[in-house]
């Protein structure tokens, strides 16, 4: 019996010729990631370990993104702790205000994640890098500390669900609709402990930004990782962003999958996840009349250039509805600059939206757009849990940038015209 793509990457990093689902292995890591919330806890733990510094100063990435520029004294102290650790250990990939971006938008752009890599990050959306053909998964701070100290992590080899993509999505349908549709089908624990391996002729019709968005939300189906096969789009992206040589792994023809799910991209409709779980999906024609108070376009799910381009296409020359706050947050400094050069920022401001410096901010209810009691928000982020963006009785509706922008104009949840 053959191996899945994920199993092949894990086997290679555990120096084994073969692994099977359920096997416990110890794998070598190509990158260990942490942010301003999880790194301080990991630093505290590594200080308790009897180790001499970190395993590799180039293979650790520390990104200050959740509460920066610092929202209060405690967050400032956390960043200071990470900054001092980075300095002391001479960490190459430390990204602070001025160079930072939201970690999962930033690291691919910096060329730090490429095909064939084995990556852990103390952030659940570390699964994003599967879009580039890497195995990457979220862990906690103690795992991050052990990873920074030893360059290794333990894993239980996952089984997989095969997601066969066919057809071509229509104009306003993006990666977000694909993944919301899938989570709606299988539920928030539908892929628990397993890999989501995307495949099929439809893959070529999804851009790298679409794939990053899809893998980003694999965790919202409970998956250990999401992963795409490596094709010309992947190789081109990696070449443009990294000087390292990618390693291409393919699933064996006789790899075993727990199940196969087929998604026809050509018939997908704009999809919205209702409060308070990403699995509560409805297509745009089933949404009904829901007035909103706020729109957020950004995050590690949808703060990339194509997302802003889609928002611009819809907002340009129009006005955000009265009583709606529309907050747009480019994912990285570079995306911000590209949006500026493309004229999007002017269009957004003229439409009555605000544009923020890159930050996670409202996505996790940090700052920059917290909801009051009973307020409703259409957001391109990835979680709509109780209280995620503010008051416990506020409501988050997850959607694509196209739906978010269209809703900002009408003041209710709307599809793009």
């Amino acid at each position: 019996m053959g191996m899945t793509m994920t199993q092949k990457i894990l086997a290679a990093h555990a120096n084994l010729s073969k692994v099977e689902a359920g096997q416990l292995i110890e794998a070598d890591l190509d990158l260990v990631l942490g942010n301003d919330i999880t790194s301080p806890v990991a630093i505290h733990e590594i200080e308790k370990m009897k180790v001499d510094g970190v395993f590799h100063k180039d293979k650790i990435a520390l990104v200050m993104d959740h509460f920066v520029p610092n929202k209060d004294i405690k967050s400032a102290e956390h960043c200071k702790c990470v900054r001092e650790f980075a300095c002391k250990n001479d960490i190459t990939n430390y990204f602070d205000v001025g160079q930072m971006g939201i970690e999962h938008a930033l690291l691919p752009e910096k060329g730090l994640c490429i095909a064939g890599d084995c990556i852990i990050g103390a952030d659940s959306h570390t699964c994003t890098y599967g879009a580039l053909g890497a195995f990457s998964t979220g862990v906690g701070s103690t795992d991050m500390a052990a990873g920074m100290a030893t360059g290794k992590a333990w894993f239980k080899v996952p089984s997989a669900i095969k997601v066969e993509l066919i057809g071509k999505p229509s104009e306003y349908i993006s990666g977000k609709d694909v993944i919301l549709h899938l989570i709606g089908e299988i539920g928030v624990d539908g892929a628990l402990y397993r890999s989501l391996e995307f495949t099929g002729e439809g893959v070529k019709n999804l851009s790298m930004d679409d794939r990053l968005c899809i893998c980003n939300m694999a965790i919202e189906a409970g998956a250990k990782n999401g992963i795409f096969p490596v094709d010309d789009i992947t190789l081109k992206y990696i070449k443009e962003h990294s000087s390292r040589e990618p390693k291409v792994y393919e699933a064996d023809a006789d790899a075993e999958y727990d199940e196969t799910i087929t998604i026809d991209l050509s018939v997908l409709k704009s999809t919205v996840a209702f409060p308070h779980l990403p699995e509560n999906t409805r297509t745009i024609d089933e949404v009904g009349d829901i007035s909103i108070d706020q729109v957020v376009i950004g995050s590690c799910t949808n703060g990339r250039f194509e997302d802003l381009a889609m928002a611009d296409k819809i907002l340009k020359g129009n006005k955000v509805a009265d009583n709606v706050r529309c907050i747009i947050i480019p994912g990285t400094q570079n995306i911000y600059l590209e949006a500026l050069e493309a004229g999007f920022i002017r269009d957004f401001i003229e439409a009555g939206a605000v544009v923020s410096t890159p930050t996670c901010g409202p996505c996790l209810g940090g700052y920059m757009g917290i909801l009051a009691s009973k307020e409703k928000c259409v957001s391109t982020t990835n979680r709509n849990f109780v209280g995620r963006m503010g008051a416990v009785d506020s409501e988050i509706y997850l959607a694509s940038p196209a739906v978010a922008a269209a809703s900002a104009l009408t003041g209710k949840i709307s599809g793009p015209m």
């Binding site: 806890v41 370990m49 103390a122 100290a149 928030v188 624990d189 996790l364 995620r388």
Partner: protein, 162 residues
């Protein structure tokens, strides 16, 4: 190894890390402070009612959502001795083991046990005993190396002892 015994607090499916410890408190990483907000968004009285040794019982996908280790840390620091659930979200599962919070998967126990029951968990055998009703359940025992991590009170000590 050890066993846990305590009074049960019941929760349902998909208890996410945002309700276990809301992000607005993540500007702290002090276990004691985190414990004072444990479960706040789903049960305001939890922290006032919980006492050392108590047990959480929940259904599917406990701990889904963010990777914040603050979630099992808050639960452990609140005094909870064990979490029993039908299934755990995978990052929560790792984190709990890595920080030394015992957790055990058992569908029958998760379906049956009621709020306020007194429950006993034997970590070595995976046997869960409901002392209130007298029923026993066989939970999934940990693989050996995970038992070692828990016995060392977490991954850090485990690495140091290796």
């Amino acid at each position: 190894m050890k066993a846990a015994k305590g009074r049960v607090f019941r929760f349902g499916d998909n208890i996410d890390t945002d309700v276990i410890i809301p992000a607005r408190y993540l500007n702290s990483s002090d276990p004691k402070e985190l414990a004072t907000h444990c479960m706040e968004d789903i049960d305001k009285n939890f922290v006032n009612n919980v006492s050392a040794g108590d047990i959480i019982v929940a259904n599917k996908n406990f701990g889904c959502g963010s990777s914040r280790e603050h979630a099992p840390i808050a639960i452990k620091a609140a005094g909870v001795s064990c979490v029993i659930a039908e299934t755990f979200a995978r990052i929560f599962y790792r984190n709990a083991i890595n920080i030394g919070l015992p957790i055990i998967e058992c569908k029958e126990a998760a379906d049956d046990i009621k709020e306020g029951d007194i429950v006993n968990v034997d970590f070595d055998s995976g046997v869960i005993t409901n002392e209130t009703t007298g029923k026993t359940y066989q939970g999934q025992a940990f693989p050996e190396f995970m038992q070692k991590i828990i016995a060392s009170e977490g991954l850090v000590n485990y690495i140091n002892n290796k």
